[in-house]
């Protein structure tokens, strides 16, 4: 039986279809989850996709964090459920305090929409084990509030514990210490501003390629579900 990967749709979510497609492409069973339904429908992992949940009112992710489905995801994530938050999903994970820090307005205030090169920094998480440490990958970003911010102590802890999972090769938005993505201490929860679900096929991925550098996020979680003990954040 294939692993079931759930993808949450909030009002204002945009990238749920691409995330469901990524799950299907790696051989998982994609499962649509709805913000008002607290049931996780027996999924083995969850993706919080990008977009503008609840119109980004108040702060990005601030309202989504209190939705019925998030209450269930927060409890399950604390029990080890693999959760990947992409862009708005990363913002929701920070607002939920599943991940430290916050995403704030980009330096320069511009919305940035382009392919960026990332350097993978940690493979000891549920979502990054199929990469190599130091590997450079090409993934699109598209956000206005993607600048990662945290106090120095938190940043030092993230670095010391190997919880920075990817850095920008060229920092596009002023993110602290070039951070593009981080993990929780257990390694099951990962947040990433760039969009791996938009880099999974030759036809629609970054051009000129490589076009499919985002796929290993999704194959990694399948490996993790088969061999959970491999994760050593």
């Amino acid at each position: 039986m294939p692993a079931r990967i759930g993808v949450v749709t909030f009002p204002g979510t945009q990238d749920d279809t691409d995330a469901l497609r990524a799950a299907r492409l790696v051989g998982a069973e994609p499962v649509a989850l709805w913000h008002r339904d607290p049931s996780l429908h027996d999924v083995d992992a969850v993706v919080l996709p990008g977009g503008f949940s609840y119109g980004d009112y108040l702060r990005c992710g601030a309202i989504a964090r209190f939705s019925p489905v998030m209450e269930s995801i927060i409890s399950a994530a604390r029990e080890g459920l693999p959760v990947l938050g992409i862009c708005n999903g990363f913002q929701i994970l920070c607002e939920s305090h599943l991940l430290p820090g916050a995403l704030i307005r980009n330096a320069g205030t511009l919305f940035i929409n382009r392919d960026v090169r990332l350097r993978v920094e940690s493979t000891g998480t549920a979502w990054t084990s199929d990469y190599a440490v130091g590997q450079e990958i090409l993934i699109p970003i598209k956000n206005g509030e993607g600048k990662f911010a945290a106090d120095e102590k938190t940043l030092d802890e993230l670095e010391a514990e190997g919880r920075v999972i990817a850095r920008y090769v060229e920092n596009p938005n002023g993110s602290a210490r070039d951070i593009a993505g981080i993990a929780n201490a257990a390694g099951n929860v990962v947040g990433l501003m760039p969009h791996p679900e938009h880099a999974i096929e030759e036809l629609t991925g970054p051009y000129p390629g490589p076009a499919t550098d985002g796929l290993p996020f999704f194959t990694s979680v399948l490996q993790h579900l088969l061999n959970p003990e491999l994760v050593d954040a």
């Binding site: 601030a62 820090g101 916050a102 704030i104 307005r105 320069g108 205030t109």
Partner: protein, 81 residues
């Protein structure tokens, strides 16, 4: 009925690119002598009853939980009137 105002501002150590953009625009409009501008949010909370200590405690709780993200922001609660 009472009105309680919650002011939410980015912490001083967090860079405020929106405030900076406003600051840079002001001299072009002829407003000189401005050293810095920071932008925040103001919430006006209308209470059913009086703004007593218990009510203010609840407003502070809602500010902590929802109105502000205390990782990056600080807030101030005051009674208007």
């Amino acid at each position: 009925m009472a009105r309680v105002v919650v002011d939410v501002m980015l912490k001083p150590e967090i860079l405020d690119p929106q405030g900076q953009a406003v600051n840079r625009a002001l001299p072009r409009l002829g407003f000189d002598g401005i050293v810095d501008v920071r932008q925040g949010k103001r919430f006006e909370v209308e209470l059913e009853g009086p703004a007593d200590e218990a009510a203010l405690a609840r407003v502070r709780e809602m500010a902590e939980k929802l109105l502000a993200n205390t990782v990056i922001e600080e807030f101030r609660v005051r009674v208007e009137g």
